[in-house]
């Protein structure tokens, strides 16, 4: 997703009670119109754009609220808004306690 939408998405996720996530700054390309930049007569097409990747592990019934929170906040309507992939997770352990699966991704309250 777009870096300038990150704050909106985080806000939206926290409102949906989704806590516990990792972000990465990445560069990517998803078919958006190319950006042309010029440096002293050297013109370049920037094929990669700054993007942010979020990784969020949630229990099953939290999948839908999480996805809709992201869709709501990250959308601008133009090409380059990004994608949400929902992937199954085989096993989760919380390192601190050794809890497994659902208990491991349930935030401490």
């Amino acid at each position: 997703m777009r870096p300038d939408k990150l704050n909106d998405v985080l806000e939206s996720l926290f409102r949906a009670d989704v806590r516990g996530l990792t972000i990465q700054r990445v560069q990517g390309h998803g078919g958006e119109t190319e950006r042309v930049e010029t440096y002293r007569g050297t013109t370049v097409k920037m094929e990669l754009s700054e993007k942010v990747r979020l990784e969020i592990g949630v229990s099953d019934h939290f999948v839908e609220p999480t996805v809709s929170a992201i869709l709501r906040a990250a959308r601008t309507g133009t090409v380059g808004d990004g994608k949400v992939f929902v992937l199954p997770v085989e096993k989760v352990y919380r390192i601190r306690t050794g809890e497994e699966d659902q208990a491991a991704v349930t935030p401490v309250t």
Binding site: D4, N7, Q27, H29, G30, T42, T43, K45, E47
Partner: protein, 428 residues
């Protein structure tokens, strides 16, 4: 013609010119990285647009003729600006020196409208403002106009430069409206070392600004120079202590701001107060600006880089304290309140108020006039993308990954890949 005076003014002119790039660094460090180039370009553009406007018309409006409010066209297109003496220096040198003032004054305003104003309308505004607002005010103080006639003391331009620019900045911030993220998201300075570098270079250049305003290599220049060293030192000290008292930590952005506030405050007073008076003035100037900054951040007025708090409040305090601390035994012309001339303080206050009113109203008019032809602001989407890419087609911190060379129109150079060729399209 005096060779020593000429030499000092040559150096001073270069020093003051350096203040504008320095301001670019000061402001550039305070914005987010996606707007760094745009912010710095707002200062650099003044070097060109205001400089040329000054040469062709501005100088004449400010320094030709006997008008009360405005000069005339006697020196338009540089007519009569020659090697003959103006005071003790060549006329062309006096003209250049004053030109550097016009440039920095106009550039100061940009701090209020960063991260959102479109560059084209900004250039129009900048050029018009220097001619319609700065030139008349410069005339009023240094060209023999009304401020000079009423006896206002303004050694190097505390009112004309700083209060004036700050009033324009406040109005511009208000006309443009706040950035879309203002008071919604934390917008942090992206490069505080740039800001410190800018503050340091501003201080260096300011010796030319203040001590050069003596227009000669003499005792008045020496006094202004000394005061320009010690007043900001006092402001910096007090500001740091205030930081300690309030938050327990001395901040770097605070230090950079304090230096500018101190410099602004001592500008009107530089050659008019004694060194101890300057230290007192510098120390006193820290308080109002410090709390004005804190207060401003809680309002809806997105004067993004606090031009009003630093230059407006600092400049007004400096102008008023000049009316208090001016000492005839140092400056040979006028005493302030502390030395038995309370009337001076009233004159100073009137000068500040009239400047604010004139500058504010004119700035509003200019912006509204431009707005009738073109939008002043970027769209909210462009604001999200950042002004560097949108307005300039460049990035401040490009890694060059994924940049594909477009063959130049003139194919004299074989295509040499200047950047890593495109990696495949990784999803994101």
């Amino acid at each position: 013609m005096n060779p020593a005076d000429t030499a000092w003014l040559l150096v001073s002119t270069a020093l003051v010119l350096l203040m504008t790039p320095a301001l670019g660094f000061f402001y550039g460090g305070l914005v987010r990285s996606k707007n760094a180039l745009n912010t710095m370009m707002m200062s650099f553009a003044a070097l060109g647009f205001v400089g040329i406007g000054w040469a062709l018309l501005g100088y004449s409006l400010a320094f030709s003729g006997e008008g009360r409010w405005l000069g005339d066209l006697g020196h338009a297109m540089l007519r009569g600006v020659d090697l003959a003496s103006h005071g003790t220096v060549p006329h062309v040198l006096f003209f250049s020196y004053q030109g550097t003032f016009a440039i920095i004054t106009a550039a100061l305003i940009s701090g209020a409208i960063v991260e959102r104003m479109r560059f084209g309308p900004y250039l129009v505004f900048l050029s018009a403002w220097a001619l319609l607002v700065y030139a008349p005010l410069a005339h009023s103080v240094w060209g023999g106009g009304w401020l000079a006639r009423m006896g206002a003391l303004d050694f190097a331009g505390g009112t004309v430069v700083h209060v004036n620019a700050a009033a324009a900045a406040g109005v511009a911030a208000w006309v443009l409206g706040p950035r879309k993220d203002h008071a919604r998201q934390a917008m942090l300075p992206h490069n505080v070392p740039f800001t410190l570098l800018g503050a340091g270079l501003l201080w260096f250049g300011w010796f030319g600004f203040n001590a050069g305003s003596a227009l000669g290599a003499n005792g008045s220049a020496a006094l202004a120079f000394t005061n320009t060293l010690f007043a900001p030192a006092a402001t910096l000290t007090v500001w740091t202590l205030l930081d300690f008292a309030r938050g327990g930590k001395a901040t770097a952005v605070g230090a950079a701001t304090a230096i500018v506030v101190g410099l602004v405050a001592v500008t009107p007073a530089a050659g008019l107060v004694g060194p101890l008076g300057a230290i007192l003035l510098g120390a006193a100037a820290a308080f109002p600006s410090y709390f004005a900054l804190i207060w401003r951040a809680r309002t809806r007025l997105d004067d993004s880089l606090d031009v009003v708090a630093a230059h407006g409040v600092g400049g007004a305090v400096g102008a008023l304290l000049t009316g208090v601390l001016a000492q005839k035994s140092w400056n040979g012309t006028a005493d302030g309140l502390l030395f038995g001339n309370p009337r001076q303080l009233a004159i100073q206050a009137v000068a500040v108020l009239v400047t604010v009113a004139f500058s504010g109203a004119m700035t509003f008019g200019i912006l509204r006039a431009i707005q009738a032809f073109a939008p002043l602001r970027s769209t909210s989407r462009e604001e999200g993308l950042g002004q560097d890419v949108v307005q300039h087609g460049e990035e401040a911190y490009s890694h060059g990954e994924g940049a594909i060379l477009v063959l130049a129109e003139r194919e004299t150079h074989a295509a040499v890949a200047v950047a890593v060729p495109a990696a495949g399209g990784g999803g994101s």
